[in-house]
Symmetry: C2
Subunit: 476 residues, 2 copies
């Protein structure tokens, strides 16, 4: 734990193999670190340079002054074991080995190097993320220890993602930038010498900056340890996993990719369920579910209410909720009566509730949200808004929504879609107050389903749900 704390919050970082040449990985690693506003010391290491990016550059890791907690290593694979040994001698807690060409290579030489590396890591007591990784970021420490500077532009937030594939992180990064999704840690595990899913789960379970954990899993060597760590983690925060490698072709590819067979998907699915890990089957759904789980309390049951500004979205949301195993609740007589009084007769006032005919009356819309949220037959709410018309016609009932969420503490997720800029301030206000927004009704409904499932996980574990809920207080 202490090693991980030092790695993720380093006082100083050495970049071994830093370079001024944009054709070299060592350039991009140093640039990434420099682009994230990191407040600690940065020590480029390369005997061929005196200075890089305006920083004093050291001929070897031995020469680097204190304090140094983390090394980003971008030297050729054959030199990697030696570098790890030197990091150990220098008292460095952890190393990111971006370098590839080890176990994933499937060649004798690569396997031999991997063994050598593992031995060196053991002897020198250095935690290794990688090899064959893009690296990791900790946005709460302004730390981009990866080879892609764009990760520095991500917003700081409550979601941590641990991935067996850097590709998935690179697919989700631009999406997160567009959607303003905030991350805590993003970790590419690579070939996993001595840092694997269980280690990350245990660390993130105790990490105050992480409120939900997303996993991208192809295959692991020690599924029992993963499931045991997951069981410990889900007691304190939700874990959602996207497991691939279902197909024969993918399974073989996974072996070559990360040196692990993906294994039987059904076995994993059952084991995840057993451990209380929620699952998704799409990369965007992974980060969406993690967002909902980070923002919102778990639900007390599966009875949902759907409210939407336009009927079509309500129908999609209702379909998706039922498809995910949720129940479109029947409102109490009191709710039915209150909605009948509030909304015009030609509107759908049962579940899903259609606000189409009062769309330009924010107080009536907000009042409907409040009435539905107060219903004892409602465990969770899917609220769907789209932008239509133009300026001056329609207003989002932001305060009503926030108040309804705060008053009843039931999960409330939103589909909120608009041409760029139009509702940015409203979206920010909603998310600052713990209401996650999603760009489609399907993503909102699927994320709501995970909140209902997490409630079931906690009930099965006997964890006090109100205790769980009280930990959730907005997005930042």
């Amino acid at each position: 734990m202490e090693s991980f704390n030092r790695m993720f919050h380093p006082r100083g970082v050495a970049v071994i193999g830093a370079s001024a040449n944009p054709k070299k990985m060592g350039y991009h690693a140093l640039k990434s670190l420099m682009s994230c506003g990191f407040k600690g010391y940065v020590y480029p290491v390369n005997p061929r340079y005196k200075e890089l990016f305006g920083l004093k550059t050291y001929p070897s890791i031995k020469e680097v002054p204190d304090p140094v907690d983390l090394a980003v290593v971008v030297v050729p694979s054959t030199q990697a074991p030696l570098m790890v040994a030197e990091c150990g001698k220098r008292g460095i807690a952890g190393a990111v080995l971006i370098t590839a060409g080890f176990k994933e290579a499937g060649l004798e030489e690569g396997l031999k190097l991997h063994e050598e590396l593992a031995g060196e890591a053991r002897r020198s007591n250095v935690k290794i993320i990688g090899p064959n990784t893009f690296g990791f970021v900790n946005l709460h420490a302004n730390l981009n220890a990866s080879f892609t500077p764009s990760f520095s532009a991500l917003r700081r937030g409550p979601i941590s993602l641990v991935s067996q594939s850097g590709g998935v992180c690179h697919v989700l990064m631009p999406y997160a930038l567009e959607q303003g999704i905030g991350f805590s840690k993003i970790v590419g595990l690579g070939n996993r010498v001595n840092v694997d899913f269980p280690d990350m789960l245990d660390y993130l379970a105790s990490d105050p900056d992480t409120r939900s954990v997303a996993l991208y899993v192809e295959g692991v060597d020690n599924p029992r340890e993963l499931m045991a760590a997951a069981k410990r983690t889900v007691k304190v925060k939700p874990v959602v996993a996207y497991k691939t490698g279902r197909s024969r072709a993918a399974d073989e590819a996974s072996w070559s990719h990360t040196g692990s067979l993906a294994g039987n998907y059904r076995l994993y699915e059952a084991a995840f369920k057993q451990a209380g890990v929620l699952t998704v089957s799409d990369s965007v759904e992974l980060v969406s579910a993690a967002k909902a789980l980070a923002f919102q309390p778990p639900a007390r049951g599966r009875r949902v209410a759907v409210i939407s500004l336009v009927a079509g979205l309500g129908i999609i949301a209702a379909d998706t909720c039922e498809g995910q195993g949720l129940i479109l609740t029947r409102f109490t007589r009191e709710t039915e009566e209150a909605l009948r009084k509030l909304l015009p007769p030609y509107t759908i006032r049962t579940n899903p509730v259609d606000l189409g005919f009062v769309a330009n009356d924010p107080d009536t819309c907000g009042n409907a949200v409040e009435i539905v949220a107060s219903d004892r037959n409602v465990d969770a709410i899917s609220l769907n808004y789209i932008y239509s018309w133009s300026e001056g016609f329609m207003e989002l009932p932001v305060k009503w929504i926030i108040n309804a969420f705060k008053a009843y503490g039931k999960p409330l997720v939103m589909c909120l879609r608009y041409p760029k800029n139009i509702w940015d301030a409203e979206k920010q206000q909603l998310e600052d107050n713990g209401i996650p927004t999603f760009p489609t009704p399907e993503l909102a409904a699927k994320s709501l389903a995970r909140l209902c499932e997490y409630g079931e996980v906690l009930r099965k574990l006997g964890v006090n749900k109100d205790e769980g809920a009280s930990a959730f207080k907005g997005s930042s």
Copy 2:
């Protein structure tokens, strides 16, 4: 047909109920029309104004001069039948009835009005889109006949969307703006007095600006006619449908929404399959499939090759392809041999092909694409690229990809994801040459599956596939 031609390519448009007050729908309708660069005449109609938006405003439709082919009607529902009658007398071909409060109201008054409207439309021979619709757009005529000006910002393109819900169009519009997806027509059918799915399918089948048709269907009164029209359409261009209203709650809501029961989903699914209509189960998948189908020729079979810049995306793509019923092909010996020579030994050179270790060598990556595309065991290709590192390190092999597609005529779709701006020019060049790009490997693979299915539809119908393929020549 002539009526539809006049509606979708009007020489003049009257906006009945136009207003200067942003709290009125008539303001937004006029603003939409004015914001799209429409080249024809615009005639605001409202006895309370002499001028609106700098345009001469007429007291009634009778006074509007020639030529006028289309009316956008935003008056209260009780006045709508009269307005339709007046449009008929004035020789107007079609009207968009944005006005709501008819059949969807579920009240006697509304039903009576709907009947009255239908009778008037019959007598006066006016085609009505709506009532209870947001309207329609035809980007090839710079025509935004809706109440939402933002639709004017959409790119012109080959996809037409016919929707029973305006909400779905409003969810997809910002997505299309972000992704640069181009549309031909977007039509909100609303309550369907005398213009329904079959009419639109027949019109779009003959529309040279439409290369694929996307349908959002809740429920229809005349499924047989829909299926018959679909059968005619799929012979000349692909049709993909997103059918909702599966759940009991959604079914009831659909009745209230558009006056039609959604009906049994399984029956629809079977009927769509029978008619050769492809299906999806998500709004973003709908537009993604339509994009692939508009850009690319149908596949000759289900044997796909997956190529990816990083192994993780290849594994996701392979999983998704197999999940969609596609077959990860086995390459010929010649291909295996050629890839073995081209790519380093520690790379995955079977299917999925991993370009990770040659990512910064565009010619080698491009050459691999060319080799795979030439394989006689390959019917379709999923190519997956993400942006990583930073400037100067990596180049997209755009010309190789375009040449491989053109040389072999096999469907080739791409996942192409990057932080904004970075590959915009490359994306444009790819799409101008008929290669559709998608933001996730899952969407690319699912869209590829629709291209394989459409090939099967055409083979079953005995339509010459090469004839089909030759019609597809880039995106614009």
